[in-house]
Symmetry: C2
Subunit: 753 residues, 2 copies
């Protein structure tokens, strides 16, 4: 690998001190003159017809400045995928889950707004509701939308010939797995501060994952031109996939500001965050697999049912990704899959770190362990035998250009002491492994591209303009490292202006695992463009050809005689004197085709990243409590731009997937979530998270910026699978329905006895 | 002229409603959390040595968070021209005028900061002072800086052979003129709000004329890299040339924020604005002119003394421009000039609308009228005979490419009824004329260039990023018009992000008459670049060559078949799907040489604009009061991007120069200004300003954007000259020393009798 100055270094985050000291202001910290407070009226019923809404009493309450209902809206449906749009910003005719938005109020004080909600009189006609997706798919189930059997969408595919594959298999088995719902639990609640000014421009601060996606969705829902909306940068307290779409707080704060001409802020309570934003899709996965005696995968048939809740959101994508997960990680010539996205009268499901994949991995990796046991093969050997390799061409036509999966498996098992410990641990300890592959920048929309602008200042330093946002993953530091390395500057020389839809160029956003790969690439190209301009100016001064020059450590020098050099400020000033202010631009769009989720027949991604995790657990046979003792996670991130940040991502991924594996779930009672608080909904606390041994595998992708792919998502796919496999190794019981709670362990132990 | 859709239209300002309703927030309106208030301790003596500064009592006052003196600074001198840097941000050793900055305090309340100033104990040793520039130039005058005879700089030049020119003249006369000081009187006071954060970045809001000049000067004075300083956009309540440099409020607010880690705001009182910011340079102009009998100018010898006050600031530029004014407006083969910039112990003089030129015009145009009378030629005829014409090559090598001076003279006199009224008015009425030429973007620094970026949004509309600031002249509207016209959009389709040194590309600034010409050109080029990208995308869709296409009214169409077209949003979306977000960039630097003010031998400007004003006055012989009754002003602005805004500039220019002509002056008593308030210092009020007849002359400059040059400054050159000439026409007395106050009129009338 080349010698880098900034890339690959363990550099602290450029905004670390601001965040640690409280200097960083989050949206709810902000106060604008004449600001009003907004509150949202929500449905108390899981399924009901709205007969009438009377807001007159609320409007008369002193201090109330505006009340909005569907009457104030365009009455057009919106959705992540416009073809699947099925939701009104404020309910019309029907409500479909407890929490569905009906009206919103803006008042001079928060408690006045709250009081006004009680004064809005809504007449409902209750309708029968359905909460289980398999019940919802029955012919006589209550119809939530106008779709048959409540199936909002389907995805299917047939690669090879599964019947032939099963016929040629030595061993075939079928299992059914069920996964749980999970909340993102970002520490910052959902919040929006919107202000509509006299120039008819809407300015909004809201934690988001892409100012451009927010702008687009708000523009459509509010019937404003996109150019009349500015989504500003704000510090963001976590996203984890949950902040891509437009949320009611954003829509209602905007609409109320347009109606009142005053700034309006709406901040959700934690209960609202749990019950009315998004949750992970619970899935039922029926999996049939055929193998040769030596473990070679021959055929797989997968049937997935995803519970999307009351509205589509990303439901079909999640089901597609779940199915697709069986294609990417292991070689198998014959695959048939069928996915169903199903409505229920519950909180909407949506994108969440590991979206669709964590479910796929739980089923796939659990079953592989059962097959390995059946065949008497070490689970690691079974995986190594079938693991994807560089050069493989997938059924979706993507050729794998860089693949560190084998190295991930080898290094994770080595780090965990697999050979010495697995199946040989005393007491109730056990080890489990799981593997995954992730798409780097899944192409789900025509807008999955990024641009970046770099301008050089008079002091020879650089300002980077990028539309990327930082949800906590140190985006700005990473992008500044890329720019600094390419330009020949140090990290402190690069200042970042990011996340503002107005001053920054278009950007794909901090999701779909595309930030490093797509935005990083655009930044690298912008820096290269600026550098080329700089070298052209320097070439004249140094009496050399551009090709003979390079830049490093704030100097432009002649490669074969590095003493002949000029400084960056000198070159910039020379440029200005010639009327050439240096301004580089770059853009990048992954060379993929628009994914067809309905058939899976598309080049969905430019490259894949790979990951393997080994978990060691200890099970308390008395209480049923599973403790994650230690875990090693090896991730092929292509190249670590900042190893400290990659390790941070691996550790965070482990904690999040550990929560899904062991403790997190929505407790439902007829569509009502019973545990919407951090005391009743248990995420792993710092003391619950064990030592995580992060292992960075660098396959150096030919297309990624400096070879980088991604780091924040695939390592979150594996907790449930690795832990379930480790539990089996520890106590010999197989849990196929998440989460692995003490009562399930105790029941399984009793059943086994 | 081509048919334009947006250019040349009377369009209202895009931020007009925000300004009219008070929605626009100015710097002093802003409040940041934990913000402190700063106050500055100033010298009570016009000239004194500082023996000691004791801040201990001030520091102990509860609520005081920091006190800074020169000890906290780099102790390096700064100045507009680094070669002439002569001022410390906080005084060291000496103070040189009443108001010189010594220390600054930051406290939790404004009155605590005020109180703390009284607790700072400064020991002075008073020094003899000098207030008159001619006195200051004497051998035995007190020395203000370490320069002989207090002459801080000189400018001289010899074009042709003046001795020969005078010898060949039929008539030669010599006169001495004196001009007054004048305050900019922006309605918004000088103010700065600075905050230095934990990332060591300084963010500052302050009314300015160029965020990049402010950034550069602050960086040097504070010893910070420029990239660590962000000058943010703020609404600005007028500048008129007076907000280019770094002011003590900006430096001290920044330094106090760096010391305290808290935001600091310093707002000047009106008295501070009058006495410690900048004033117009008073000048003494000795002018000798030789003419042929027919009025042809043969030779001119000019000696100028400019009073720069306690420090250089733009003193030498002002003297240079004054001398240069005799070169531009009229043809004359032999010119010799010599200018002296002289220190006095008074308020610093600096750039102000008409900087150097208004003084030059007063002398030149007054003397031309005297010559015309002597020769029995109509003053208008004399001017038409000598007026510059397109194609003239000036001694400084600039070829005049577009020149509407003759048309300006003809149309202004026609509008004023010159032939019918001049010399024929009953009572005490009279008419006077004056003419001028202005440099469009005088090139005084290597940094006189602008860049601009235009990005197209998904809705097909555009965002313009420009570093230009709006001081009240509707900059953003004008630049948006240029972008819209070039792109083929409407004004409302172009959103402007301006005046932010961080997100916007480098810009020359809103001064030196360069905004329309230089920034406007950069914006036009950026729009052309974006349009080219758009047409390339459209060409493929429309199956045509780029050359066959054009864009107008939000559509890209085939020129010979305008029905074959695609919409802007469609083209933008097509681009995005190909991974081409449209991002245009443009930059422009006027093709001039760096001006050598010491010899005047440089191509100072790419083009000149021209103006003529006719004033009609009525003089009250009892009170000596001169009333401006009516005035016609014709300006060759190249092309009016927005005629309404050009007219607004002409009207504002008339009012400002009327004030200088008739009422505005600093009343001095030993270096103390006695009238630093709007009640004692009299600017023309709305009822004092007469009907102004604005006449737009369009010479369509070949280099300017759409042919435009400038509009905000040359029309401000002429009030004193035109009014003085009109007074002579009315009552036969010639006032050679400004302002033309009632007592001077009465004295002159007495002398005449």
């Amino acid at each position: 690998m080349p010698e880098y100055s900034v890339i690959g270094k363990r550099l602290p985050a450029i905004d670390g001190i601001a965040k640690a000291t409280g200097e960083a202001k989050y949206t709810d910290d902000m106060v604008l003159p004449r600001m009003l407070f907004g509150k949202i009226l929500r449905s108390p019923y899981p399924h009901a017809r709205i007969i009438n809404i009377d807001t007159t009493r609320a409007e008369r309450l002193p201090g109330v400045k505006a009340v909005v209902t569907a009457k104030d809206t365009t009455r057009k449906k919106y959705g992540v995928n416009s073809k699947l749009a099925d939701q009104y910003p404020l309910a019309i005719d029907k409500v479909r889950y407890i929490g569905d938005e009906i009206a919103a109020v803006a008042a001079i004080e928060e408690d006045i707004a709250e009081e006004a909600l009680d004064l809005i009189n809504v007449e409902y006609e209750e309708l029968p509701a359905v909460f289980d997706p398999e019940e919802a798919m029955k012919e006589d189930a209550p119809m939530i939308h106008d779709v048959e059997r409540n199936i909002s969408g389907r995805t299917w595919l047939n690669f090879g010939d599964v019947d032939k594959g099963f016929a040629e298999s030595d061993y075939v088995r079928e299992d059914r797995f069920e996964t749980n719902d999970q909340s993102h639990c970002q520490i910052e609640p959902y919040v929006a501060l919107a202000t509509f000014d006299t120039s008819r421009k809407l300015t909004i601060w809201t934690p988001n994952m892409s100012p451009f996606v927010k702008r687009r969705m708000l523009a459509r829902a509010l019937n404003l031109p996109e150019s009349d909306i500015r989504v500003c940068k704000s510090y963001i307290g976590g996203a984890f996939g949950g902040r891509v779409e437009m949320f009611a707080c954003e829509f209602c704060a905007s609409l109320l500001s347009m109606k009142t001409g005053r700034p309006v802020k709406i901040t959700y309570t934690r209960e609202e965050v749990f019950t009315t934003t998004r949750r992970r899709h619970p899935m039922i996965i029926e999996l049939k697999t055929g193998v040769k005696r030596d473990g070679t995968l021959m055929a797989r048939e997968i049937r997935v049912i995803g519970d999307t809740g009351a509205y589509n959101s990303t439901g079909l994508q999640a089901v597609y990704i779940c199915c697709d997960g069986f294609v990417r990680t292991y070689r198998c010539p014959n695959i048939k899959y069928e996915g169903h996205c199903v409505y229920t009268n519950k909180t909407i499901s949506g994108a969440m770190r590991g979206h669709g994949s964590i479910q796929s991995r739980f089923a796939d990796e659990s079953q592989l362990d059962m097959i390995a046991e059946e065949l008497g093969i070490d689970p690691v050997e079974l995986r190594l035998k079938n693991a994807r390799q560089s050069g493989d061409v997938l059924p979706n036509k993507v050729q794998i250009t860089s693949c560190g999966l084998t190295e991930c498996i080898q290094r994770a098992t080595e780090s965990a002491g697999w050979k010495a410990k697995r199946g040989k641990q005393p007491g109730n300890r056990g080890l489990g492994i799981a593997c995954t592959a992730g798409t780097t920048s899944l192409n789900v929309s025509p807008l999955c591209s990024s641009a970046a602008v770099i301008k050089l200042n008079d002091d020879g330093r650089a300002t980077l303009l990028t539309g990327a946002v930082d949800n906590g993953q140190h985006t700005e530091t990473m992008l500044a490292q890329i720019a600094a390395e390419e330009l020949g500057l140090t990290l402190e020389d690069v200042k970042v202006t990011a996340g503002d839809s107005e001053s920054c160029p278009t950007d794909i956003g901090s999701y779909l695992m595309s930030l490093t790969f797509v935005t990083g690439k655009a930044v690298k190209l912008a820096a290269a463009d600026a550098k080329r301009q700089l070298l052209e100016i320097a070439a004249e001064r140094l009496e050399a050809e551009v090709e003979e020059l390079d830049a490093k450590d704030r100097r432009i020098y002649v490669k074969r005689n590095p003493e002949r050099a000029i400084s960056f400020p000198d070159a910039v000033m020379t440029g200005l004197m010639k009327g050439i202010p240096i301004l580089g631009k770059g853009y990048y769009m992954p060379q993929t085709e628009y994914s067809n989720m309905w058939t899976g027949q598309a080049r969905e991604t430019p490259t894949y990243s790979f990951c393997a995790q080994v978990a060691e657990v200890e099970v308390d046979r008395e209480t049923g409590q599973v403790k994650l003792v230690e875990t090693s996670v090896a991730h092929d991130c292509g190249l670590a731009i900042n190893p400290m940040d990659v390790e941070g991502q691996l550790q965070g991924c482990v904690a999040m997937s550990q929560g899904m594996a062991l403790s997190e779930e929505f407790i439902w009672d007829n569509g009502q979530m019973l545990n919407p608080s951090f005391s009743d909904y248990r995420i792993p606390l710092p003391l619950d998270v064990p030592e995580v041994k992060p292992i960075i595998v660098e396959s150096v992708d030919p297309e990624g910026p400096f070879g980088a792919k991604d780091a924040g998502e695939p390592p979150a796919h594996l907790g449930p699978a690795a832990i379930a496999n480790a539990v089996y190794d520890a106590i010999g019981v197989r849990i196929k329905k998440l989460p692995i709670t003490p009562d399930k362990i105790l029941q399984a132990l009793r059943r086994k006895e």
